[in-house]
């Protein structure tokens, strides 16, 4: 059953689940919808795992599990799905995090504007659309999913978020829409260019990759795409929507937003910027590297400076996305593999961090660091998990983010010593913001407000356990990921016509050197 | 003979009509100015019709007149209702809808 539509199933299972949830009458209460949502996401995960096992990492084809059907002929748009290593990892990441988030935010939907039913329906819809984004191999289809994901997030924030949720929701939507519309111009530009070609108008990535846009056209189209992705990622200086959003969203929403949706930005840079406009990408590299480095340091400083936990985490993500973008644009195997790995690992570590702090905040009812102190004494398990999540976020060796960050640093350093030297300061700043956060919340004399705080419950631990487990396992044995990522990296290197610099001293040459 | 004088005259009439529309307050007068513009057009039409030596222009002139007549009917009806409710035919009084 090689022509089994794996991706379509993964895409539509959650969406159908969402529709079912909506269709449920209100009288069934909130328990059934929750179980239904969890079940759907788990089934999706199973499908995803089976698919991942069937993925053949040695095949020469760029995409696997491909499906293709003409959608809008006069636009040259297709319903075309397929994943390469990068897409696969992100699809799986989405499938893993969805049930985790649903379990973790079991009660977050209860006191929102609408029923919990709607909350989980939106979540499932979001999962489906996100999978669609990562699986789309047609630019038009990608764009459709790209924009469509905004709506569920918008309602999740606006309906269930914190004090300024309406404002945050609007800010998020408009910021993303602005980026998306700029991208739309480039998307249409692609159509016009491809229509000129003898092949006729098409949006298939594989077809577009064959086209050669002129230097200027290519660069303009590239910019259109890049701006949208930079906003999504988010990079300095278009990052300010993220802290405001996470500050007001529920932890679950923040996880789906930062761990999954923001990856669309970096994923898009890889899949579209580098894939379709190699020349323009090389042309833009120096500037982008500078911005990425700024994002790393700037985000870290902002994180150190912020007293609001979700904002703080948001800023750490700005810093981490700086690393990812850096890894992508230094354009060598180490950087690219690191960046791709980073996308997955950052998803895990940030998810853990958002969820555990979410549990903390829901107990104390305040998101301000300064309202905590000495929690470790009353809730050791929470504190322990918090610490592990934090350490993974500062990419401690032995936890999965380390490998990705290290590879990015190596890649960057071999691209430019200066850039590498600046980027590496990130590891010190990361230590400061994480440990400073831990110190101020968990250690010191226990404050009265948190004296009778309950430790994590079984459900909460159950939600976090798989994430932490993955973080540790992948920290020592990332092979499963790398084995699918590396072929994709090689493909990208080919596209951008770059080769890894040879080492100054090539060990293989030494032997014959000895015989002289 | 050259058509210019006729066209110039029609242009002048048209302009007068246009200015009238802008300057006069009374709905009836404003509307008469519009009629003036239409008739200026008629003059132009007829002139060109003669210059081109076909009848289309003159036919058009008739149509314009007919349409103008129809406009009068509709226009007066509207103006009447307004006048009766507001006791004034000034177009400036009707300015509730704005911004």
């Amino acid at each position: 059953m090689n022509d089994f539509p794996w991706l379509s199933v993964m895409l539509f299972l959650p969406i159908v689940g969402a529709l079912v949830l909506v269709a449920l009458p209100a009288r069934v209460g909130s328990a059934l919808p929750k179980q239904l949502a969890l079940g759907t996401s788990l089934v999706t995960l199973v499908v995803g795992i089976v698919m991942a096992i069937r993925y053949d990492s040695d095949s020469s084809a760029q995409f696997q599990f491909t499906e293709q059907a003409e959608w809008i002929k006069s636009f040259g748009a297709h319903y075309a799905l397929g994943v390469d290593g990068v897409g696969l990892t992100l699809v799986i990441l989405t499938a893993i995090l969805a049930p985790v988030v649903i379990l973790a935010s079991w009660n977050d939907g209860d006191n929102g504007r609408w029923s919990a039913k709607a909350f989980f329906a939106w979540m499932l819809a979001l999962e489906g659309l996100a999978i669609g984004v990562f699986a789309a191999t047609d630019v038009f289809l990608f764009y459709v999913f790209f924009e469509a994901t905004l709506i569920p997030v918008y309602f999740l924030i606006g309906g269930y978020g914190g004090a300024n949720r309406a404002r945050a929701a609007v800010k998020f939507l408009l910021y993303s829409l602005a980026g998306g519309l700029i991208m739309l111009a480039s998307v249409i530009g692609l159509y016009v260019e491809s229509a000129k070609s003898d092949g006729g108008a098409t949006y298939l990535v594989t077809e577009l990759a064959k086209l050669d846009f002129g230097t200027d056209v290519g660069r303009w189209l590239f910019l259109g795409f890049f701006v949208a992705f930079a906003i999504k990622a988010p990079m300095f200086p278009v990052h300010t929507w993220l802290p405001d959003t996470t500050e007001n969203a529920t932890p679950g929403t923040s996880v789906l937003l930062v761990s999954v949706l923001d990856k669309i930005g970096t994923f898009g840079m890889l899949r579209f910027c580098l894939e379709l406009f190699p020349e323009a990408s090389r042309w833009a590299t120096p500037a982008i590297v500078v911005f990425a480095v700024i994002s790393i340091i700037y985000g870290a400083f902002m994180a150190i400076g912020s007293d609001n936990i979700p904002r703080l985490i948001a800023y750490t993500s700005v810093s981490h996305f700086g690393f990812i973008v850096l890894g992508i644009f230094v354009m060598n195997s180490q950087g690219l593999s690191g960046a791709n790995l980073y996308m997955f690992n950052h998803g895990l570590s940030t998810a853990a961090l958002f969820l555990v702090t979410g549990f903390l905040i829901s107990r104390r009812g305040s998101a301000l660091v300064s309202d905590y102190g000495g929690v470790e004494k009353v809730a050791p398990v929470l504190a322990g998990i918090f610490l592990v999540a934090g350490l993974s976020s500062l990419s401690l060796p032995g936890l999965s983010p380390f490998i990705s960050e290290f590879l990015v640093i190596v890649g960057t350093f071999s691209y430019s010593h200066v850039a590498g030297a600046f980027a590496v300061t990130g590891i010190v700043l990361a230590a400061i913001y994480i440990l400073f956060l831990y110190q101020r919340t968990m250690t010191g004399p226990t404050r009265d407000e948190v004296k009778d705080m309950k430790d994590l419950g079984t459900r909460e631990i159950a939600a976090l356990a798989p994430v932490l487990l993955l973080i540790v396992i992948l920290g020592f044995f990332p092979k499963p990921l790398l084995s699918v990522i590396n072929p994709a990296v090689d493909h990208t290197m080919e596209r951008v016509q770059k080769h890894d610099p040879a080492p100054d001293v090539d060990p293989s040459s030494l032997q014959e050197g000895a015989h002289e | 003979m050259d058509t210019t004088p006729f066209i110039v005259l029609s242009a002048i009439l048209f302009t007068i009509g246009g200015i009238g529309v802008l300057t006069r307050r009374n709905a009836i007068v404003v509307f008469m100015c519009v009629e003036l513009m239409l008739n200026a057009s008629n003059l132009a039409l007829i002139t060109f019709s003669r210059a081109n030596g076909n009848l289309e222009g003159q036919i058009a002139a008739f149509f314009v007149m007919v349409v103008a007549a129809a406009e009068v009917v509709v226009g007066l009806a509207i103006i009447m209702t307004i006048f009766r409710t507001r006791r004034s035919a000034s177009v400036d009084d009707a300015s509730l809808l704005k911004y």
């Binding site: 636009f75 | 404003v30 307004i82």
Partner: protein
Amino acid sequence: MKFTAPHIEYDLLSPILIIVAVAVLGVLVEAAVPRARRYVVQVGLAVVGVVAALVAAFIVLGRINPTSDKPKLGYLVAEDALALDGPTLYSWIVILVLALLGVLLFAERRLEGGITAFAGQAAALPGTEGERQASAKGLEHTEVFPLLMFAVAGMLAFPAANDLLTLFVALEVLSLPLYLLCGLARRRRLLSQEAALKYFMLGAFSSGFFVYGIALVYGYSGSMSFDKIAFAVSSGSGSEALLLGGMGMLAVGLLFKVGAAPFHAWTPDVYQGAPTPVTAFMAAATKVAAFGALLRLFYVAFGGARWDWQPTFWAIAILTMVVGSVLALSQTDVKRLLAYSSIAHAGFLLVGFLGARSLSEINVGDINPVQAVLFYVTTYGLTTMAAFAIVSVVRDGSGEATQMSRWAGLGKESPLLAGSFAFLLLGMAGIPLTSGFTGKWAVFAAALSAGAWPVVIVAVLMSAVAAYFYVRLIVVMFFTDPVGDGPTVTVPSLLTSSVIAVGTLGTLVLGVVPGPLLDLLGRTAQFIR
């Protein structure tokens, strides 16, 4: 005494003829049928008439077998006064569908408690004994239906007109009934009458320009018919000044109708003041007819002078988008907001209109501007109809509650209605999976193919700005709590609900599977010359 009778293709013209006949019959009904039964008869007549016309239009469309790869270009009928080609017939069908929806809205009686939304007796003064009696007697102006039919007849003729005179007549035939309809609101009659007055005054003023433009163009080309004008343009005989002046003045007349800046001033006031069913119909159908006419006039007649008028239209398109989107930001009245948004959409349509290219430049299967614009007006028409229909059912004691603040918490009050309205708004904002997106894509693509990228950039930015006020309305409906007692949604009869349903469904379907329609247009959207 013998003469050669003019040759009229009654079969091909049947749609128009049916509508006119229905209109005339409607007038007779007013005279003959007793008041008690007029409503039923008029509505029945109108519905039957429109449906019949629709059927006829489809048959005519079939005559140019649009499904084949190389459809017949079309027919020139009534001594070449009308051109029945793909664009015309397509516009006819769209207009008739919208007209049908319009009739349904006009006929809605439940919202006002068993009586239509139109004045019981237009002649009776507001707030007087006469009016009170009129409403006590349950009087209602059933003339609105014949008026509507006349307007429809004009709209059908407008995009088909193949010479300037027919164009003018059609313009007036569609305008005059609308002037009247605007003044017939049952509630807030002062505003309604004011709207009528403004619309009429400015309409008459603009038609003055239009006629003078006809005169000048006639003077330039020595003929009224488009093909002769086109020939004159291509041969470049006669004085440029006449052509350009005439072209400009004709443009003024048409741009006034589509509500493009700087000729948009009437739109907000009239849309706000007019009875909502009228606004809905006007906003939707007029755009279709006017753009049909605009395309034919400037592509067929002035196509040769494209390089003369394109720059000006670039400026107008940009100005229109900016004015519409920016001014809408600060609106507090839903109807007025939609009015400004319609201005913005006129701007987007003009962007598509700027995609004009000589046929040689357009490869097979490319988006061509006519196709794009016609598709956009279709999507916009359906969406707007439904939107205004929803506006008409959100009410409080004093009739429709169009103040945006009164819409707060509608999402809780009636999720379904608010949900579909939100969906329509997202459609207007151009979010994917709605027709608004596919429409925008089409017009932008057309313009970009013609190299109008600066306009497209502005269009893109303005769509971002426009998104803000649509989103704001969604926020009001869903994320803000009502002040005092929230709005009440009067459950409408099947008539209005079906309009809402059709419009929303159309917005969804054309957003997800626009392919068939686009392909049809791609094959048939060719002007006969």
